[in-house]
């Protein structure tokens, strides 16, 4: 293997992607290791290494002496070609061990459009793609991450899905594996015993039957130990949960080159389109004292010159002020910069950004998501036009002159008026800028408002899980409307091509029958679908045609509340009843207060922690 490396690595772009050896990489004496776990991110190194979940799980698993967690990423096409040409299997970065030799190969499933990369990586590792074709010598293929809340399109390819937060059940799962392995038990024995571990979903122990119209008739366990529903597992107390004091520091530049401090999990807001906002419920915060201590340790151990805060909505952190001030105190003198996520704009946050950014006043970002107040009420996005304009006004006075706005098109109930709202809001912000005196304006770069729109994808476990997605043609017509109505030269409009979002719409709410679509499209050569330069829509169209699968059935059809959904056997704690109520309130354009203002009894209280008990 190592001999091959020179030959191959000197012929590829960015060979630093394929060598590991980062600061804080874990090395272990292999003879003391009982279980080897390959953590795979199905995208290129620079993307995967910017992912906080990888950093957490890597050090979490490696805190055990008997477990060695190593890493693998999707090789870029140049590397893949040379690997295939030289029959070099996909290997781990720590020890250059072929993935096939591992006990577990775990994939983190962050976005649907990485699924073809999962198949490609299995193939590069010489591991049979179909779970049913794997034998005693093959690793257990396990998947985790947000896409596992509806993992059905991948059910054919995985042995296990882990539903929830890794810190909860991995120890139990690995202990079980170790004991079955030491007693010479088979993989099937292990899988059957694993059925009893919370959060573990083993798709082969469930049978799906279908109605004549193609909808699901029943999801039925076929093993006595397989639970009827698999409930996600989450950490109750974020102050007691493991968090690494070190982070891997890549040797080449990655997307996010910094250490990350996780402030809390979950979100109080309840935006009706947002899957993350629901599946990570309830909100569980860390105390600022612990965070400040961690910040010190992370900076010391990594040598990084930047630290960032991570959560779904950092401005909602109840101790935001002491945390931000504590970090500023600590780091402003020591050449460590703090990167802030987008915050609600008020006097405090502007002052903070001023301090943090020192010289460069980069753009401000708002995510109104929809163009009119009516539609923002439908999606329960608790931000008003006044708040946006006031925020922009404050920022313009404070010296900013660039604003970025994020919108979605294709939201439920959207009309032309809402599209016009995108245009009008962008214009209103420009007008707000011209309220500052001319002499002031002359001193700085001209105002620019960048409005960008993405295509709405209805996701499982949201209030919109029953909604039809706009078709690619409808999306095009909508973005065309906005594009042709944006007249002001200070406003730039960026929009996304709908093809990718439409496929995402199919996979997000797909069922097991999509396995053959994925297999076929991979055979046809699809990979790195989320990369513009490698995405080939025609391959997908061909695969739909050849497999007889209807994109319309999955993406563009309105489902009824009583239809069995492909993810009905998975529970995030938030009840279906609550989602129905939310869907109805959306229809009536009624907003729902956030978790701190008034509990709606969504069901997340069942986890016994977090904001539900504050």
């Amino acid at each position: 293997m190592k001999e091959l490396m020179d030959e191959i690595l000197l012929r590829v772009e960015k060979p630093g992607r394929y060598i590991g050896n980062e600061i804080n990489m874990v090395t272990k004496p292999l003879e003391k290791v009982a279980v080897r776990f390959a953590f795979c991110f199905p995208d290129v190194y620079e993307v995967g290494m910017s992912h906080l979940g990888l950093q957490i799980l890597y050090f979490f698993l490696n805190r055990r002496e008997d477990v060695y967690c190593e890493r693998a990423f999707a090789p870029w096409t140049d590397m893949e070609a040379l690997m295939r040409e030289n029959e070099m299997p996909l290997y781990s970065l720590e020890t250059f061990t072929p993935l096939k030799e591992f006990d577990f190969v775990g994939f983190t499933l962050q976005y649907e459009m990485s699924y073809t990369n999962v198949l490609n990586m299995l193939d590069l590792a010489n591991i049979p793609l179909l779970a049913s074709e794997r034998g005693e010598d093959d690793p257990i293929i396990i998947g985790g991450g947000p896409c596992t809340y509806n993992p059905e399109p991948l059910a054919d390819f995985f042995d296990i899905f882990y539903i929830g937060e890794g810190e909860v059940s991995y120890d139990e799962l690995l202990d079980l594996y170790k004991s079955v392995k030491s007693e010479g038990g088979s993989r099937d024995e292990f899988l059957k015993k694993a059925l009893k571990i919370p959060g573990i979903y083993i798709p082969k122990f469930y049978d799906i039957s279908y109605n004549e119209d193609g909808t699901i008739k029943e999801i039925a366990p076929n093993h006595p130990d397989a639970p009827k529903t698999i409930r996600k597992v989450i950490c109750k107390n974020m102050d007691e949960v493991f968090y690494p004091e070190k982070q891997l520091v890549p040797l080449i530049e990655t997307v996010h080159d910094r250490v990350t401090l996780e402030v809390f999990r979950g979100c109080i807001r309840g935006c009706r389109f947002c899957q993350a906002g629901y599946v990570y419920r309830p909100v569980r915060e860390k105390q600022p004292e612990r965070l400040l201590k961690l910040a010190d340790k992370l900076i010391e151990s990594s040598g990084h010159e930047e630290i960032s805060l991570s959560s779904l909505s950092t401005g909602d952190y109840t101790h935001f002020k002491p945390l931000a001030e504590g970090l500023l105190d600590k780091f402003t003198k020591s050449n460590v910069s703090i990167s802030l996520p987008s915050l609600r704009i008020d006097a405090f946050s502007l002052d903070l950004m001023d301090k943090v950014q020192a010289v460069r006043k980069s753009g401000l970002t708002f995510a109104p998501e929809a163009g009119t107040q009516r539609l923002r009420d439908v999606i329960n996005k608790g931000i008003t036009e006044k708040e946006i304009l006031d925020g922009c006004g404050l920022a313009f006075e404070g010296g900013w002159s660039r604003v970025k706005l994020y919108f979605m098109v294709g939201l439920p109930t959207e009309t032309e008026e809402d599209l016009q709202g995108i245009v009008d809001l962008s214009d209103a912000i420009v007008m707000k800028y011209f309220e500052i005196p001319k002499e002031e304006r002359k001193k700085r770069p001209p105002v620019t408002v960048t409005a960008s729109s993405s295509c709405f994808v209805p996701k499982p476990f949201t209030a919109f899980q029953w909604e039809p997605q706009s078709t690619p043609e409808e999306f095009l017509a909508k973005t065309h409307y906005v594009k042709t109505h944006m007249k002001r030269k200070q406003v730039r409009y960026i929009y996304h091509e709908p093809d990718l979002s439409s496929l995402e719409g199919v996979l997000a709410r797909g069922d097991r029958r999509l396995g053959k679509l994925l297999l076929r499209v991979w055979e046809l050569g699809a990979k790195f679908d989320s990369w513009n330069e490698l995405f080939k829509y025609d391959l997908w169209l061909k695969a739909f045609e050849e497999t007889g699968i209807s994109a319309h059935f999955y993406a563009n059809r309105r489902r009824s509340y009583d239809e069995v959904l492909p993810w009905d056997h998975i529970s995030i704690g938030v009840s279906k009843r609550f989602f129905i109520e939310e869907a109805e309130r959306a229809r009536k354009e009624q907003v729902t207060p956030n978790c701190r203002t008034e509990c709606q009894n969504c069901g997340a209280k069942c986890f016994g922690g977090g904001v539900c008990f504050e």
Binding site: L10, Y18, I19, G20
Partner: protein, 217 residues
Amino acid sequence: MNRYRVTFSKTDRMIYIGHLDLLKYFQRVINRADLPIEYSKGFNPHQLMKFAIPLPLGMRGEAECLDIRLTEDMSEEAVFSAFEDSLSEGIGLKSVRKLSDGEDNCASAVHYADYIAKPKDMVTGLEDVIEKTLAANSIEIERTVKKKTKVTEIRPLIHSLNEENGVIYLTLATGSQGNLKAEDMLKYLYQKAEKEFVPYRVQITRTRLYSDIGVPL
């Protein structure tokens, strides 16, 4: 002035890291080692460090040099041990030397370097080619600089060439006063020996940097 010259090797997996990434790497190593590095003044303060000359990606280095400036006086041993604890496999610490006042920094001081090239494929007739090369008064090669091809006289940049048991030893002008890339030299020799030069089939190591012949940095 608390200036120190750090001599290090770059081998194994680290040869796949380019110069800019190595610079970033050393910044982080210095932060981790908690060395009192001095920062430049200005809007974007950066650590005061200077490499003698970038090592091309893929080339091994046995004695590369880096000068750093500290805000306080430390013993060479203390700097050495601070570094030693923070380096990764593939970067080996060779020595730390405190620079005397007024001594040139390594980037200005470097004038020559030794290289060893180990071809993986047999090349015949190299001895002959080397003899002719050294005997010539003038050698011109085509070099591409910023997408333009330029003809350059390289004979004065060659100090010595040697071949022993299939291994090529080169001492070439290196640095801002005159620089000949080992790869360009080898390409020329291969061309004269009528053999195609395939970069990844020849393992090149830079073994030493000199301020003058016989005077290492």
